[in-house]
Symmetry: C2
Subunit: 210 residues, 2 copies
């Protein structure tokens, strides 16, 4: 297969991917923000989130900054700024900030040096815990522990579920396709002896058969 | 935070997650299939796909089988069988097959011992390449190389992009919410000197401004 064809095809296999902006700054305060489709949940306790990157691609400034400051933020991409988010994947030089160049605004919270993406409706800060090299293809799994979450209370349901559909969070398929979502349902915890049931978005125990 | 609340909240942070059934068999041919929301693209050349698992959870039969046979299949979950797919997360015993118990049918292709999920519109086989332990929380990153892809030709576009929306592939948010998608657009490769443009789903070079 030609390499670009292969890249499109293989990138389509894993299914829908999360769309997130990772924002960092270096020791001098120079900011950087880049889109990633490989952010993955690793565990709730401790709260660990990972993402995969190539050391030599456009996102290398992200990696350098995380190594310097041990801190970064992840910001879910929503329908209101998906085009600007995609533009961050262009190869800008390190002295330029994608915040300015892509029309995004940074926001800071007390006690956290790394910038957040102000346009994002679900933002969180992480402390670097480990960078695991994947030698098979020279990529890295960067793992951080979540320290602070910023999200409007309305989206957080009584059982802890965050209704990211109500935040208009987008997903990615392949390398370059963006999608919004329509919920089928939340489902009850599956047990061997009974069929799954719908639960309401708020997570309350009003089960209904399907 | 109470642990179930925390699990719901932290599982919502990474954004939309892929919904895939991983199917395996042991050396005796006993089949197993389980849903995973942590399948992640690692690289196109070689074609590597990873997924994260806890060694001790319900999916341990999946891990044991992969270690025994070095082979497994990943099958995208679509709207036509999302309920059955969710039911596979119940704690069945190893001697029972989720295929039978959840109403899913297995399918085999010549030369591949692991079963596929017949209901899935995008199926592929992998050979185990590496299991990387993540010591921070005792999880494992299981990495396989894609050997065979099965998908209707209509969904594969001329540039290699697979239109998984046309296959009604679903995504997951949090622990238990399922979603279908609506495409915003595919976008052109981002370059510093120009704004991104829409490209048609078939990937042809008919750019249009946004």
């Amino acid at each position: 297969m030609p390499s670009r064809y292969r890249a499109q095809l293989v990138n389509s296999l894993s299914g829908f991917k999360s769309a997130n902006l990772i924002a960092t700054c270096n020791a001098d305060g120079q900011t950087n923000v880049a889109i990633f489709s490989s952010v993955v949940h690793l565990g709730a306790s401790p709260a660990l989130v990972g993402f995969v990157m190539r050391p030599n691609n456009v996102a290398r400034h992200t990696l350098e900054n995380i190594k310097q400051t041990k801190q970064y933020t992840i910001n879910q991409v929503s329908e209101s700024f998906w085009l600007k988010a995609h533009q961050t994947s262009a190869r800008y030089v390190a002295q330029e900030s994608e915040f300015d160049l892509c029309g995004l605004s940074s926001r800071y919270y007390e006690g956290i040096d790394a910038p957040f993406v102000n346009e994002s409706q679900l933002q969180y800060a992480l402390t670097l815990k480990e960078i695991i090299p994947i030698e098979l293809n020279n990529t890295l799994l960067v793992i951080g522990e979540v320290t602070d979450v910023f999200c409007q209370n309305m989206a957080i349901k009584p059982d802890g579920y965050i209704d990211i559909e109500s935040l208009n969070t987008v997903s990615i398929s392949g390398l370059d396709s963006y999608h919004v979502s329509r919920r089928l349902s939340r489902l009850s915890y599956a047990k061997p002896e009974r069929s799954v049931q719908r639960i309401p978005v708020n997570g309350q125990n009003e089960l209904s058969d399907l």
